[in-house]
Symmetry: C2
Subunit: 326 residues, 2 copies
């Protein structure tokens, strides 16, 4: 008989997204978290809400595992987070600039607190427990409302001088492109995020080449979102597949830019759109092979789907907090 004994040291991770809050409690070395919870994004003061969520997760974990103690809390936030845990700015976080999330939560909780960019957290989780496990140099790109990235180089997180590395969503890829939430023109995020796929779907409908997309959205052209394009494409509609193919080309443009700069061993595609799997990834791989300089003389870089799902950010935040304990 094997007796599985949970270690007593636990860590908690929170991932604050645009609409929801994911929470993970895990032993640092565990292959699966002890608890994963999901709730709507809390309103009111950010620090108060995060502290309450952390306390609730800690209490739940200690009920489930009475000898366990949560020793550190990690938080992932969709914005520029500096090395001191201050959320400086996020294009999709109006009103939340220069908030000292890390220092304030440390005071509130009396625990070790680590705050980092949400995609950095998700990338670290995929590197430690998911699709990039076993690699040293990896790039995880999260395609959601916006685009984020978590980069590892030589087995460690690439953070940059200030903590702001891994923002490829704001690479300029077309100076004639649409305006981005960050105020600039032609950011990759405007061509390859979930929001961008929705816009491309609405454009297809408006131009009379999106009947199945429109039907998937219940006939309301304003309601067309990315999932209506992918649903229609998955059902075999040629027009929707053409939209998805063009979208995949744009995904490949940014992924290839990252390969030119970073030369990773593997590229992991995460975020909501990664649920499309090979429906999205096969055309991305084809386009990427055409876009890579010197492709005939270098190794193909595998482009794979993330494997940890929506808990990746919170899990990665917990793992980054655990690393701070040692």
């Amino acid at each position: 008989m094997t007796v599985s004994v949970l270690p007593d040291r636990l860590v908690c991770g929170l991932d604050l997204g645009g609409t929801k809050l994911l929470t993970v409690v895990t032993a640092p070395d565990a292959d699966e978290p002890l608890l994963v919870t999901k709730s709507p994004r809390p309103g009111g003061d950010l620090i108060v809400a995060l502290a309450a969520a952390a306390r609730e997760a800690v209490a739940a974990a200690e009920r489930a595992h009475p000898t366990g103690r949560v020793e550190a809390v990690g938080v992932g936030v969709a914005g520029l987070v500096d090395r001191g845990g201050v959320l400086r700015y996020g294009p999709n976080l109006p009103g939340l600039t220069d908030v000292a999330v890390g220092p304030s939560l440390t005071d509130e909780l009396g625990l070790t607190v680590v705050v980092d960019n949400d995609a950095t957290c998700a990338g670290w989780a995929e590197h430690q427990r998911g699709s990039a496990r076993g690699s040293r140099d990896s790039v995880t790109v999260t395609l959601g409302t916006g685009i984020g990235a978590g980069v590892t180089s030589g087995g460690v997180v690439l953070r940059g001088a200030h903590g702001f590395a891994g923002e490829p969503g704001h690479m300029t890829v077309d100076p004639d492109g649409p305006r981005c939430a960050c105020g600039r023109i032609g950011c990759w995020e405007q061509f390859a995020s979930g929001s961008a796929l929705g816009r491309m779907g609405r454009e297809a409908v408006a131009e009379g080449r999106g009947a199945a997309i429109l039907a998937a959205a219940g006939g309301d052209s304003d309601a067309v979102r990315g999932e209506h394009v992918s649903d229609a494409a998955a059902a075999g509609d040629g027009e929707a597949q053409a939209v998805l193919e063009r979208f995949a080309w744009w995904v490949a443009v940014g992924v290839t830019n990252l390969i030119h700069v970073l030369d990773p061993q593997i590229v992991v595609i995460g975020g909501g759109l990664s649920e499309l799997g090979d429906l999205l990834l096969e055309p991305v791989r084809r386009a990427q092979a055409d876009l890579l300089m010197g492709a005939a003389h270098r190794e193909r870089v595998p482009i794979v789907a993330a494997s940890l799902g929506e808990r990746a950010g919170a899990w990665g935040a917990a793992l980054l907090a655990a690393a701070r304990l040692d």
Copy 2:
């Protein structure tokens, strides 16, 4: 009286460019090389030519410093060089694909040989002895015939999984742009290299807004190159300054893409165009401030000229070879 004693351990560096070969011999820790030579790029077999150049440099160094011994040779080449020292491919090196430069030179010379990308070498020299000295996370961009980059992260060279990191010249920045030597469309190198400035100058002349540029080129519109634009701009010509301003905007686009991905502490601009100094860098800095996501909430990243001139590549190759000795 101070007696300066040269150490006996020396290293040699070679930088093979499109038209010239630079050679450096230096003590690993020296602030100035012992010897720097420049010659036309040798013809004939690449390995034979490099071995001859290395032997000549070693002999000259040992004449100048009789107790010195060259213990390692570094070579910088303008292409994709893998971690085993094989030159895989370079868009501007026709016919030189999959050449085992490192292994062959090791056999020829009987010394430790390190081969790396030329811009990686130049970036390492600027990081160790030049404008990025004292930083941990730096990006050196070389603007010449093409565009290369040398990146350091956490104080070490960012090489990537295969050795191919740091090729921002082939980031797609405009899918409607011109075709690149690498065969693809809209690479940054087509907008922000020395060759691109020349093309922009010829375009200005053809459109009747480049009289001073044409005069700088001796009245021959086909002979217009980047230096004619910069000469006319430096002399105060408004039309040439407008071309240079537009060019600087494109330099800033790629530099800002790199800042979004890598978040360096400093960006060093090297290569032939860096000789323009603030005439180029001031408009680059202005454009970069507009292009950076969240600029009001983050540190300005200094953009400075390289300080080691054309010997940077060979010196950096020598320093990378020295590191292999320890």
